[in-house]
């Protein structure tokens, strides 16, 4: 149940009590919005799920104390018995339906936590000190299987976290690139998010894919920043397509949040000339399948998605009257530029590469500020202003050596922001006049 329906549900009772509408009319309104009465009990799922996770972690730590007085058989009986009890209770509650279903999911989540506790407990009992990331892999697969059969978003989130820990441990501690892992995470959990239309799970999946892919790329001696930049660009394109084509209702803000966050951070890092040294160096002539997969597949995917955006725009296939701004073209251009600079290698002057990303950020900031002021869009105005301020603050340290130049830049920036405030206020006023006249 979204916020509007929740508001309407509370207001209906007040309106009936105040005599504004009859009870019959209130029921007729309720019948018009069936989701109002039978929404997913997210509050219960979240709090009970959080409780299950914390109880599971507590049990892991409790067994970590490793009581000598507790026999091996007793420890095994306690953990396997708890696991069976949690799952049995979960299955029984899931069959009931209603709000008990949410509680059932939480019991099954507790069962999955106990499964993880059991893996570590058995390793402790038998002093197993083999490749420890395997424990996270087995635990994550157990949670993933449960996420699909229930089906449950919260189990999917647990699986996303555990599988990401597995990939990171394999790459950081054992220098082992699990090349296909990000793709498997994306497929197994992304499909579940799509099936359940679960936006929070989608957020977990996107984060898991980005973190695990970056981890693997680092192990392959690939270009982590290029990979993240390209994947972020792909996510931004996906957000536009999701918004317009409505193939996963409500997912566009999640794609956009992840995409823009990572894209802006990557561009910001690339805008430092000293950082470009680390961006441009590294392997550029890898021929292994894994290297090609991480160097070129995201690039092709991002360009394909942006091609889709351009095609939809050219064909005027937009569902909403407001088309995406032309400044969005900077996103694929930044990706192409980054790929070009890396292919050129370290002999390229890093100032030139940094300059391009400075221009990209500056253009984005000015475009958002202009659009915000013209159409009285507060979010665009704020984002543009923050981006400009961040850019000027960064260049204060590494570009303008003269205090006079620094002062001038600050004066100009301050003037621009001041003028932006005036323009924005006038746009708001104009909009209100138009609303009043209509």
């Amino acid at each position: 149940m979204n916020a509007h329906l929740r508001w309407l549900a509370t207001q209906l009772d007040e309106w009936v009590a105040g005599g504004l509408i009859s009870a019959h009319q209130a029921n007729a309104i309720r019948a018009r919005y069936p989701h109002m009465e039978q929404g997913t009990p997210w509050g219960l799922i979240i709090f009970a799920g959080l409780g299950a996770v914390i109880v599971g972690l507590g049990i892991i730590l409790l067994f970590a104390y490793n009581w000598h007085d507790m026999s091996k058989a007793m420890k095994l009986a306690v953990i396997i018995g708890s696991l069976c009890a949690a799952h049995t209770a979960g299955i029984a509650l899931l069959r009931r339906g209603g709000w008990l279903r949410g509680l059932g999911q939480s019991f099954c989540l507790l069962g999955c936590m106990l499964f993880g506790a059991g893996i570590f407990l058995i390793a402790q009992i038998y002093h197993i000190h083999e490749r420890y990331p395997h424990a996270f892999l087995i635990w994550g697969l157990g949670a993933l299987a449960m996420a699909w059969v229930i089906p449950s978003a919260i189990h999917g989130m647990l699986a996303a976290v555990l599988l990401t820990i597995w990939v990171c441990c394999e790459t950081w501690d054992f220098n082992m690139a699990c090349t296909w892992a990000p793709l498997v995470i994306a497929a197994a959990l992304g499909l579940l998010a799509w099936r359940l239309r679960a936006r929070v799970l989608l957020l977990f999946v996107l984060t898991a894919v980005l973190v695990s892919a970056a981890s693997v790329a680092h192990t392959l001696d690939g270009h982590v920043l290029l990979l993240l930049l390209t994947l972020a660009a792909a996510a931004i394109a996906a957000s536009i397509l999701a918004h317009e084509r409505v193939w996963f209702e409500g997912s566009a803000p999640v794609w956009a949040f992840v995409g823009w966050s990572v894209f802006l951070v990557c561009c910001y890092l690339c805008s430092f000339k000293d950082f470009q040294y680390y961006v441009l160096r590294g392997q550029t002539h890898g021929t292994t399948l894994a290297y090609l997969l991480y160097m070129w597949a995201p690039f092709v995917l991002a360009l394909a998605l942006w091609g889709g955006v351009a095609w939809a725009r050219a064909a005027r296939r937009w569902r909403t009257p407001s088309e995406p701004g032309y400044e969005l073209a900077l996103v694929p251009l930044a990706v192409i530029a980054c790929q070009f600079f890396i292919l050129c290698g370290p002999h390229l002057i890093s100032v030139m590469a940094a300059g391009v990303f400075n221009l990209v950020l500056l253009a984005l900031a000015l475009a958002w500020m202009t659009r915000g002021c013209r159409q009285a869009l507060l979010a665009h105005t704020i984002m543009g202003s923050l981006l400009l301020a961040a850019l000027v603050a960064a260049r204060y340290f590494d570009l303008f050596e003269s205090l006079a130049a620094r002062g001038l830049v600050f004066v100009v920036t301050g003037g621009v922001l001041f003028a932006e405030g005036i323009f924005f206020a006038r746009a708001r006023q104009r909009l209100q006049h138009m609303k009043g006249s209509t």
Binding site: I60, F63, A64, Y65, N66, W67, H68, L76, I79, I80, L83, C84, H87, T88, G90, I91, L94, R95, C108, G111, C112, F115, G118, I119, F120, L121, I122, A123, Q124, I125, Y126, H127, I128, H129, E130, R131, A135, I138, G142, A145, M146, V149, I150, F174, N175, M176
Partner: protein
């Protein structure tokens, strides 16, 4: 239908745990028992609690002990990839298992451990993990065990009891302290005021302690002949080898048997100036070099060595007084370098 699927996944989770526990329990009950020597340190795992991190004597393997494809790779100073499956063939004739060879081919039979190459930087030794490098204990117990390892500067080896399957999978069953501990001190001659001269007249004091609760006898051959000297590689290959490695060791006599009461310490003195303990550089371009004392300036700080007490075989001790008390096994000291630095 959905409930059945959920129950199936739940049962699968139980089955995974049952398999993990069942496989190890089977090895504990049916596997061959062997003791391996180790040195413990005390870390903590956030998921499994306190444990003793164990560094086994068979975990660091020199080129000489490698066989099969490993020997070929080591001979060509090729890096053996991390994660390569290896098998440590063991000999248990002396009570505590000794490494016979490390190979990349599974032995057809006998006692062996299955492990993985942890790291190898040619030309140094190969480090192997057998999956038994952690001994989980109740919280704070690990520190107590670690503290018991050193008594009066003498290190008491910890022997881990393993159950080993026919596939080479090892499961820890228990631990015991070795009955004898060994300590090493390098002492410069204080009568010489000149630092370099004093260093040249250094002696090694090797102390052997009875760490058990009953009497234990050791065989102390004259001139320190109960001891051997081993080269230790630290990072780079150590080209210096002991000149007397192949020298014949005299048979033990009745007067060589030393009975130690519980807690009693027997001290041996080894003179670095004794040519019996000299070492020679075996590097290809230095074959004509003369034998040098252990503390000669030609030896670098990274060229490390360790003494090892080697008890005579049980057959050689038959007829000696207190022969039933004589401990049979090997007891290495800490490694030391020419600059008197110890590991």
């Amino acid at each position: 239908m959905k409930s059945v699927a959920i129950a199936a996944v739940a049962l699968l989770q139980v089955a995974v745990l049952a398999y993990m526990a069942g496989e190890r329990e089977w090895i504990v009950r049916r596997g061959a028992t062997v003791y391996v020597r180790t040195a413990p340190i005390d870390p903590r795992d956030p998921m499994r609690g306190d444990y003793l991190a164990l560094n086994y004597a068979i975990s660091t393997v020199s080129r000489a002990d490698c066989a099969g494809g490993l020997a070929t790779a080591m001979a060509h100073t090729n890096r053996v990839p991390r994660g390569t499956v290896v098998y440590a063939v063991l000999n248990t004739n002396e009570g505590v298992a000794r490494l016979v060879a490390l190979t990349d081919q599974r032995p057809p039979g006998g006692l062996f451990l299955r492990g993985h190459v942890d790291h190898h930087n040619p030309p140094s030794d190969i480090n192997v993990r057998y999956g038994i490098e952690a001994y989980f204990t109740q919280q704070h117990t690990a520190r107590t065990l670690e503290a018991a390892r050193v008594r009066d500067g003498i290190q008491i080896p910890l022997d881990i009891e393993l159950a080993v399957s026919t596939r080479g999978t090892a499961v820890m069953k228990n631990h015991r302290w070795a009955p004898l501990g060994i300590g090493l001190d390098i002492i410069a001659d204080a009568t010489h005021t000149h630092a370099a001269s004093a260093r040249r007249r250094a002696v090694a004091l090797i102390r052997i302690m009875n760490a058990s609760t009953t009497e234990v006898a050791l065989v102390n051959l004259p001139g320190g002949r109960s001891f051997a000297l081993h080269s230790v590689s630290l990072g780079d290959d150590n080209p210096w080898r002991w000149v007397s490695a192949d020298a014949a060791v005299p048979a033990p006599q009745a007067g060589d048997v030393v009975v130690l009461a519980p807690g009693q310490v027997h001290t041996n003195q080894i003179l670095f100036s004794d040519p019996y303990w000299f070492v020679i550089n075996t590097a290809t371009n230095r074959r004509d070099a003369a034998a040098k004392a252990l503390n000669h300036d030609d030896l670098q700080w990274g060229n490390m060595f360790r003494f090892e007490y080697r008890a005579p075989a049980p057959d050689a001790c038959t007829g000696l007084p207190h022969h039933q008390l004589i401990w049979h096994g090997r007891l290495p000291t800490r490694a030391f370098s020419s600059s008197e630095w110890m590991d």
